[in-house]
Symmetry: C2
Subunit: 203 residues, 2 copies
């Protein structure tokens, strides 16, 4: 019954990508440690041992999921940071780019959020800490630049603001569903409007 072969016309590593996608989905839903390799195999229509033809460990799957996500994320971020925009425009572009990444890699983002804390302790996932540092540098730097140029308020704790902005953007992965009634750009617009101008009515 679980014999959907489809066309094997294309290159080679197509199946591998499919398996990573289903694994990411299960990891995101159940948590990495709570996910058994048998459950992933089940979802993919095969037996547990067969996964080891494609991957050499459960950890390798997680590694590949997270690293490919971060690679793509930084392609987008680096493009924004290299564009030479003003502080406010940079924040707007970063937020929009972030919601686009959530749209594309919802599962990976959810996994990253749940597991990154204790994964950074493993040498294999050292690149998570690197990415986190670069991330903080980009956001915090932009916020500080904005305070200097009087684009942003000076009476707010920049580091606190950074944490709030960072968290709110990325937790969206926990409730966002692609194909829902809001596009990533629309969500970004609403979010930016709230964070930049506030929700209170001005008088």
């Amino acid at each position: 019954m679980p014999k959907n072969k489809k066309q094997q016309v294309t290159a080679v590593p197509e199946r591998r990508g499919e398996l990573l996608a289903t694994a990411a989905e299960v990891f995101a839903a159940q948590g990495y440690n709570a996910t058994t390799v048998r459950r992933i195999a089940d979802e993919a229509g095969m037996l547990a041992g067969s996964l080891y033809y494609h991957f050499d460990s459960k950890e390798s799957m997680l590694d590949e999921i997270l690293s490919t996500f971060l690679t793509e994320l930084w392609e987008g971020y680096d493009a924004v940071l290299a564009a030479g925009l003003g502080p406010r425009e940079t924040i707007e572009a970063l937020v929009t780019e972030s919601f686009r990444e959530i749209d594309r890699h919802r599962a990976a983002v959810a996994i990253y959020q749940k597991e990154s804390r204790h994964l950074t302790e493993l040498p294999r996932f050292g690149y998570l800490a690197d990415s986190q540092r670069k991330f903080e540098q980009a956001w915090l730097g932009t916020l500080e630049r904005g305070v200097e140029t009087k684009a942003f308020r000076a009476d707010l704790d920049v580091r606190l603001t950074y944490r709030f902005v960072r968290d709110t953007v990325w937790v969206a992965a926990s409730w966002y569903r692609p194909g829902g009634q809001h596009s990533p750009e629309e969500i970004a617009r609403q979010y930016l409007s709230m964070v930049l101008d506030g929700i209170a009515v001005r008088e």
Copy 2:
């Protein structure tokens, strides 16, 4: 060596509370499923089996941690909601109360955030879904009331705003450390300033 008896003068279930506190700490740090009962016992200076003198299962510990947290949380929330404040003042009070709860139950909040999604499927943890509904009702209702009375902007999607506010408040548990340089009230003040008035400079 792990024989710190202290005074056993007080009532009976004092040790129970200590064990729950260390269990909560480990759950929060490693995740519930990734935490072994041997690890908890280790941290408490005893053997795995001995835990079963105090609790009848690992799940029971989690249950007790989460339910006592939610009970205390709703004591605070209900008091705020019954005070008959205006929309803006209600939001301010809810946010402040939330950061106080994070200060008191950091571990429980972190656990709740990581695990609530898949715990709600278990009948035993049905009260999590109940609490979530009450929670949404309180926040969403207040926001809508604020839009009606023109305290909050009408051009923002209320449900999106609710999600952003909710998430940002509670993820704080992942980086907040009691005894740090910011008190819960100070964090609440900064956060409210950002969400209500925005971070951009007005002209």
